[in-house]
Symmetry: C2
Subunit: 565 residues, 2 copies
Amino acid sequence: MNDSQHSDCVIIGGVAAGPKCAATLARRRPGATITLFQKEELLSYGTCGLPFFASGDISSLEELLITSYGVARDADFFAKAKSFTAITAAEITTIDREKKTITGRMIHTGETFTHGYDKLVITTGANPTPPPFPVADCPNVRTFTRPADAAYFRRQAEQGKIGKAVVIGGGLIGCEVIQSCADLWGIETTLIEIKNHVLPYVLDDEMAEIVEREIIRHDVKLASGVGVEKIETDGDGNPVVYVTGREPISADYVFLCLGVRPNITLAQSCGLAIGQTGAIEVNEFMQTSDPDIYAGGDCIETVNQLTGRKMYIPMGSMANRHGRVIAEHIAGCARPFPGALGAFLVKVFDLHVGAVGLSEIVANQTGLKTRAAWGSFPDKPDYYPEYKTFSAKMVYDTADGQLLGLQAVGSGDICRRIDAFSTHLHFKSTVDQLLDFEHGYAPPFSEALDPLHHLAGIAKAQRAGFVFANIDHAVKQFGDAFWLDVRETDEVEGQPIPSVAGTDSINALNIPLKEIKDRVSQLDKTRKIVIICKRGVRSYQAAHILKNAGFTDVVIVGGGVQTMQ
Amino acid sequence: MNDSQHSDCVIIGGVAAGPKCAATLARRRPGATITLFQKEELLSYGTCGLPFFASGDISSLEELLITSYGVARDADFFAKAKSFTAITAAEITTIDREKKTITGRMIHTGETFTHGYDKLVITTGANPTPPPFPVADCPNVRTFTRPADAAYFRRQAEQGKIGKAVVIGGGLIGCEVIQSCADLWGIETTLIEIKNHVLPYVLDDEMAEIVEREIIRHDVKLASGVGVEKIETDGDGNPVVYVTGREPISADYVFLCLGVRPNITLAQSCGLAIGQTGAIEVNEFMQTSDPDIYAGGDCIETVNQLTGRKMYIPMGSMANRHGRVIAEHIAGCARPFPGALGAFLVKVFDLHVGAVGLSEIVANQTGLKTRAAWGSFPDKPDYYPEYKTFSAKMVYDTADGQLLGLQAVGSGDICRRIDAFSTHLHFKSTVDQLLDFEHGYAPPFSEALDPLHHLAGIAKAQRAGFVFANIDHAVKQFGDAFWLDVRETDEVEGQPIPSVAGTDSINALNIPLKEIKDRVSQLDKTRKIVIICKRGVRSYQAAHILKNAGFTDVVIVGGGVQTMQ
C-alpha cells in the first residue's frame, strides 16, 4: 500500500456497524470509494452466536462467518457482492483530523500506511472489561468475546478437559455461557455475580430471582452477592478463584464475563469528545464532535428514549441500525437515530428472559416516581394443549401513567410482548393506550385478551386504589399479616404457597373465590389481609368483594404463586 | 319471575362481550344490579376453541366451559365470584325503549317475563350466514359455530362414521375445520371456496397461495373458485354436494363455514340504527342510536382505524375489549374504543398465518394508492439450529409511506411481527418510522435486524426506484423476460425456480452474486431482467450492480424462491 491512498469513506472496524455502514453506503452512493480496515483476520462474524457455538448448538465456527447461503463474508465477498474494499489484519494507529488521514500498520508485514478520507467512520467496538482483581496468567482463564475464545473453550470441552468451570459475571453473556458449560458438556459450573442478583439493572431483583431458580434447577451453583478477590493457579496450573468469605473454588476453566467497555482509544487520541458514560459522544446522525467523523456500534453512547439521558448499550441489533444511519447521513438521506429503549432477550436454559425500557430500580435511580404491575399468564388459552407460561412486571409513571418498562420471564412466548411493548414505549404510550393494543388472536397462539391488556388493567386498578405486591415482596414485607388463599382446595394442596429465602413459610386460610362472599364474616376487618391465588386474577376479584364488604387494608399478590414455579 | 324486576344494567347475550361487560361493571360499580340473559344453556364458552375440541387437541368440551382452575363458568360462578346475575335458557323477545323494559320467555317453562333497565347492553353475537343454495335436510350437513356442532361432529368422527367430509367456505373457520377433519381423524377432506383463493380479503392472492400449498400438501382437496349449487342426499341419506362444472361430491359430513352475520333482530325490532355493514351502529363508547342502549361483540360494526370506514369484524378479542368499554362508560370512566385494525392469526396445519391492517386488494378497493414489499426470512439467525422461516408482504401508502398492512405466512414466528406491526399501525407509523423499531434480539429468538426492518428497507428501495415483484406475479407477468438467478449453483440445483400454475417453467441464467460484477458484460442491457435468489436479499444487491452498470429495466423478485417452499 502506498501513501497516496484516499477513499471517500474510511471505516475502522469490521464486525457489525462497520460492514453494515459500508454496504449501505455502497448502495446509496454508487461509485463512492469505501475502504474498511479491520484489525482482526475475520470480518462480520456473528459475535452473538459464539455462546451457541461453545455450547455445541452450532456445529462449526464457520457457520458464524458465512452468509446464509454458505459464502464466506470475507474481503473478496465484500468487494464483489457489496462493492467496498475490506482490508483485514490492519491496525489503525492514528487519526489526523487536520489532514483527514489515518495511519496504520499491517499486522503480518509490519508495513505502515496512510489513507486519506472525506468521511471517517469509527466502529471499533468494545473490549472486555478488565477484572478489578488480580488474575494469574493461565490460558484457561479467559474472556468470552472473540471467536478464538469460543473455539478454545470448545476444543477443551470436546477433549473432556473441563470438569469444573467458574463463570464470573451474571450478565447477559455470563447467563449464556453457563448453559454452554452445563447443558451439553455437563460441566460442573459455578456462576459468581458480585451484585445480589444476576442480570442486575436490566431485571429487578424479584424477576432476577425467577431466573436464578432456573439456574439452580439446572445444577449450576450460584454465588450472588459475592466478590472475587483474585484468581491464582494451583500446583497443576489450574485456576483457583478466591472469593470473599468463602472457600476458594478450584476449576479447570474460568470465564471472565465482566461486561465490555467501549474501545475509544483511537477516538480519544484524536481528541473526539467522550461522553459521560465513557463511550464516544455522537449526535442523532451518529456524528462525533468532528462532523466528518462518525461513530457507531459498541463504541458509542446513545440517548435513552425514555429518560433523555445518555446510556451505554452494546448490542448487535443497535450496531446494525447505527451503520445504516451513518451511511444514509453521508449519502444525504438520513433520518435521525431515535435513541434506544434497551430491549433485550436472553435464553437461560428453558427460560425465556426479556425486558425493554426501564427496570423499576433504574427508573427510580433516574428520579422517576413509578409503580409496578405484576402478572403471571399462560401464553395461550389454558385449554390449548401446548400452552406455556410466563411472569411479567410492568413499570409505569405514577403521575401520568406513561409506560416505562416491561420485564418478562418464563417458558412461554415473551418475544411478542417485548416487541409490542417496545413499540408502545417508542410512541410514548400510556397505561390507557395499552388497552387499545390490538394483538393477533387465535387459540394456538394467544388468548382473547393479551397479557399486556391484563397488565394495563392491573395498573388501572392500582390507580383506583387497589394495592398489589409481588409474591417475594409480599412474603418478606407482610409475612405476619393474615393471608387468604382464594384458590381451589386441590390447587392449594398441589402447590402450597412457596417459601421465600429467609422467611417463615406462610400459613394462609384457604377460601376458594366462589365462597368468599358467603364467608366474608369469618375474616377480620381490622387486620391486613394478603390475598393470593395462582396468577392474581382471582385475588383481584376477591379484593373487590372484600372492599365492598368494608375491608380497607387488602394486598393482592400480583402474579400469584405461578411466579415461583 | 315477576313483572316488577328491574336492574341497573341488563345485558342480552352471555358468550364473550356480555359476561366481560357484566364482570367489569360489577367491579367498577359495586352494588349495581346487573342481570345478564342468555338464550342458550351455556355461558361464556370458548367459541374459538371449538375447532380444537373437534380435532381432538382438546380432550373434553368441558375444558371450554371452565376457568383455568377448573370451576364451571355458570350462573352460580358469576353470582358468587363476579357479582352479577346470569339467567340462562332465557330468550329476550322485545325491547321497549319507551318504558325501558325488555320482555322474554324462559325456554324450558315457556314462562314470560318483563325486566326493566336503566342501561341495556346488546351482545347478541352473530349467526351463521345461511347458504345461498338449497340444502337438503340432513343432520350431517351443519354449520360449525356452537358447542353442539363440535360435539356432534366429534362423536361421529370418534365412531368412525366419517370417511369423507366437505368443508364449504375457506375463511378462518373453514381453514381450522379442515385440520379438525384431516389431521387426527384422517378424514378425506375437500375444501370448497367460491372465491379464487382461501382467506379472501384478509390475504392477497399470492399470500393465500402459500396457504393453499400447505392445505394440498396435507392431502386436503382444494376446490377454489368453485360455486356450490345445492346439497342433496343420496339413497342412504348421505349428503351430496353439487358444484358448478364438476362432478358432484359425495360425503359423510358437510360443514357450512360460510361466515357469520350479526344477530341484529332485537336491535332492529326496537328501531336501533343499523349500519351500512348490516351490523348495529355504535359510537366510540359503544352506544347505539339510543344512548341508554349499548352494543358490543359480534353484533356491531366498528370503525377501521386506517380508513375511517365502518367494517364488520367478528372476533373474540374485540368482543372482550368492547365489554370493558361499555362497562366503563356506564360507570363513567371510559376512554373511547379506538376502532379496529383487523389483526388475526390462524394455524393451518404447520403454517402460521396472520395479518393486520389492509390487504393490498382491500386497500385498493378503498381507493388508496398502495405499494407492496415482499420478503422471506428466517425467524432467527440461519446458524441457529431451530430456525424456521416465513414470508411476508407489507402494504403501504405510495404517497406518504404510511403503513397500511402486513401479511405473514410460514412455519416461523409471525406473531411478534403481527403484534409489533399492529402497534405501529395504531400509532399511524410510516415506513421510515418502522426502521426505528427496537425489537428484542438474541440468537435463540431473532436476528440482529428484524424482518420488519428489512421490509421497511425494501419499501425505501422501491421509493428510490427499484422494482420488486412477488414470485407469482413475476412468473406470470414476466415469464418471457430474461431471468437471472444469483444464487450459488448448488442452491439452484437443490431448488430450481418453482413453476407457477398455468405458466411455463422458467429457465434462468445462473450467475452467483459474487460473479455478477465480473460477468455483467454477458447480459443484455436492452432486455428486461428479472433477478431471483432465495429470499430477495442477493437479488436486491445484484440489482444495484446492474443499475450501476447502466441497466434500466430490472425487476427484483421479493421474497425469492423461499416463498414457494
